[in-house]
């Protein structure tokens, strides 16, 4: 294992996959000469040249479409969205083209494309730069959605996403890029898509989350442990397709669930998890599934308001207490 930051782990994944397969190329704003807006693609232009590390004008719709077209005829593009806020401009391409091309053509096309970049709120970026988009993409059959929470997972899952033959939405988080963690030294470290991962074992309550939310959950678990409550933290890793089997193992053990996410509540990831859990695991529940989300407001700029809006480990603890019937 080697200690490295989340961005370094992603960089390593890109590097390895581009070295391994000439069909893989990276395209997006500032990915080349600028070394990446968040330095995820640092050094790649020097190594692979401007044909494979492509700076684009500010045209999300068309470079998403160019990537999809290239994928349709055999290449394996990685399209960087500087942030997923801007992916909204490319939604038509992603949903109407990438997700649906295979079905409309009865399987004649494979679209092995990855759209990656930071998703969700960061710090004081205000409303238009704080959009959580994971639930929108999860709604669409034809897409896969992945959201790693650690450097190790980032590396293994990005490699898997690039190798996957279907369009993958790969969601990172700006505030995680500096996070350090142990990363596997295995020569070709690939994690499976579609499988969740228990980040912390426990018996009393299941905290399920993904991406940055995992760290709120882990923080809450630490605190709860001091009070003798043993929380199990389940990292979804892949949001679509969901690993209900893995999740069920945890729920059957603890009988109580708290979901954690940074997006808005209506139709968020927690909403889907709550439906699936109560539908498939009804008789194992000792309490209703409870979710922790941000408040239902566009993100304000003021620091104190943003702090209020965003979920924290404390919110997770309060939710856990509710399902544990502790005061």
């Amino acid at each position: 294992m080697t200690t490295m930051s989340f961005r370094e782990a992603l960089n390593a994944a890109l590097d390895e996959e581009m070295a391994r397969d000439a069909k893989v190329f990276l395209m997006g704003e500032e990915v080349g000469q600028y070394q990446g807006a968040y330095k995820v693609s640092q050094g790649l232009l020097d190594k692979y040249g401007e044909d494979r590390v492509v700076d684009t004008p500010i045209t999300e719709l068309s470079f998403a479409g160019v990537g999809i077209g290239a994928a349709m005829v055999g290449l394996r593009p990685v399209i960087e969205m500087m942030t997923f806020n801007f992916s909204i401009l490319a939604l038509d391409q992603i949903i109407n083209n990438a997700a649906k091309m295979r079905l409309m053509s009865a399987g004649q096309y494979t679209v092995p494309i990855v759209f990656r970049g930071p998703n969700g709120p960061a710090h004081m970026l205000s409303a238009q730069h704080s959009q959580a988009t994971e639930n929108w993409y999860c709604n669409v059959p034809g897409l896969k959605v992945v959201a790693p929470s650690t450097p190790n997972d980032g590396k293994g899952l990005l490699k898997a996403a690039i190798r996957d033959d279907d369009p993958v939405i790969f969601l990172e988080a700006e505030l995680m890029y500096n996070m350090k963690g142990e990363v596997s030294d295995a020569e070709d470290y690939v994690l499976p898509l579609g499988k969740c991962h228990v980040k912390r074992e426990g018996t009393d309550v299941t905290l399920v989350s993904f991406s940055k939310g995992i760290h709120h959950a882990l923080g809450a678990a630490e605190e709860l442990a001091k009070d003798g409550v043993s929380a199990e933290v389940v990292d979804l890793r892949t949001l679509r397709p969901l690993d209900m089997e893995g999740l069920a193992r945890s729920v059957k053990k603890t009988n109580r669930v708290v979901t954690v996410e940074e997006g808005w509540p209506y139709g968020g990831i927690g909403a889907e998890l709550a439906y699936r859990i109560q539908h498939e695991l009804f008789d194992y529940l000792d309490a209703p599934v409870t979710r922790v989300t941000s408040l239902d407001v566009p993100m304000p700029y003021a620091e104190n308001l943003e702090e209020l809006v965003l979920p924290t480990p404390r919110d997770v603890i309060l939710a856990a207490n509710t399902v544990l019937y502790r005061s």
């Binding site: 190329f25 044909d51 684009t56 004008p57 045209t59 719709l61 068309s62 470079f63 998403a64 479409g65 160019v66 990537g67 999809i68 077209g69 290239a70 994928a71 349709m72 005829v73 055999g74 290449l75 038509d92 391409q93 109407n96 083209n97 295979r102 079905l103 409309m104 053509s105 009865a106 399987g107 004649q108 096309y109 494979t110 092995p112 059959p141 034809g142 896969k144 996957d164 033959d165 279907d166 898509l193 579609g194 679509r240 397709p241 969901l242 690993d243 209900m244 089997e245 889907e272 439906y275 699936r276 539908h279």
Partner: protein, 352 residues
């Protein structure tokens, strides 16, 4: 006003010479085949065998036929939803095209696509797209892949003049010029985007002039003349293949039917339609063949009969074909579905 500039009774002499006897005979056969197919499709729609949208190419046959004659087997074609002709010209048969219109499993997209989504990937026919202008970036992506792997192939990207005002068009042509991509962008200017005439939608109606804003060559062509379409496209295709530079072609044409099957076409006069019928591309080609002795009346009539027969045969085939199997509803969504299945997260509906 954007009318065809020459009301001639024959195809352009020089272009016809260059096109040659064999190719013109072939082009006529293709165009009459498309014409009879589209007429039969209209009839099947009126009988309820085809449902949803159905956009007919009647009147525009020369645009696709002429331009596709400039291509090699490895080249790519992509268009919007008025795509039956492009499909028939590039890898699809009347049978599998009609079957796709009928929503049958024997269709070229196995009934999953319908009128607007005809595909034949192996022959370089990449659809068939429903969102106006949204396929233009895809075409640009084909050009990107061609350049990336030095494949030497060329992409023809067709769209209507209504798509010209979409952001996707502007972004794509800019990228094609900037990155030197081998794409020929062809706007099939039939003067009406559904009910809105070009004059009411576009500040500039000489559309080929927009090319200048992208730093690429632009040219207007008589889209009713199959030889001129071929000639202009051949020039652009050569430029793309050898110089890696895109071209923008404005094909001035006309559609004799409404925008789609539901269109009462109240936005243009009967006189205007009659006017354009004098320059029916199929008639132009036929007359030219007869005039030059490149084909006899017997021959062209026989080809017409064959075309009608092929259309009738296609309709019978489609009618007798089965729909897709219900249990296959989840097919073709993912290449590697993992544990996904189409009923997940749903309350299964039991049809006991």
């Amino acid at each position: 006003m954007g009318e065809t500039e020459t009301k001639q009774l024959f195809c352009d002499a020089a272009a016809t010479e260059a096109f040659g006897r064999d190719r013109l005979r072939e082009a006529f056969k293709q165009m009459i085949g498309i014409r009879r197919f589209e007429e039969r499709a209209a009839r099947e729609y009126a009988s309820g065998k085809i449902s949803g949208f159905c956009h007919l190419y009647i009147g525009q046959e020369a645009v696709a036929t002429g331009s596709l004659a400039a291509l090699e087997a490895k080249d790519h074609v992509i268009t919007a939803y008025r795509d039956h002709a492009h499909a028939l010209l590039r890898g699809c048969t009347p049978r599998d095209t009609m079957a796709e219109l009928f929503g049958k499993v024997t269709g070229n997209a196995r009934g999953r696509g319908g009128s607007m989504h005809m595909f034949a990937r192996e022959h370089g026919m990449h659809g068939g797209h429903g969102i106006v202008g949204a396929h233009i970036p895809l075409a640009t992506g084909f050009g990107w892949a061609s350049r990336y792997e030095k494949r030497g192939d060329v992409t023809l990207c067709f769209f209507g003049e209504g798509a010209l005002n979409q952001g996707a068009f502007y972004e794509s042509l800019n990228l094609a010029s900037l990155w030197h991509l081998p794409v020929v962008y062809i706007v099939e200017n039939n003067r009406y985007a559904m009910g809105t005439s070009l004059e009411r939608a576009s500040a500039v109606v000489d559309l080929y002039k927009k090319a200048e804003g992208f730093g690429m060559p632009g040219v207007a062509v008589d889209g009713m003349d199959v030889t001129k379409m071929w000639q202009a496209t051949q020039e652009a295709v050569d430029r793309a293949r050898t110089e890696m530079r895109p071209t923008f072609i404005e094909a001035r044409c006309y559609r004799y039917r409404g925008h789609s099957m539901s269109d009462p076409a109240k936005y243009r006069t009967k006189e205007e339609v009659a006017d354009y019928k004098q320059v029916d591309p199929v008639l132009l080609a036929e007359r030219t063949l007869h005039d030059r002795g490149w084909a006899t009346e017997e021959e062209t009539e026989a080809w017409d009969d064959e075309a009608r027969d092929a259309a009738a045969d296609a309709a019978d085939f489609a009618d007798g074909s089965p729909q897709p199997r219900l249990e296959d509803v989840g097919e073709y969504v993912y290449r590697t579905p993992l544990q996904w299945h189409p009923t997940e997260g749903t309350t299964p509906h039991h049809r006991d």
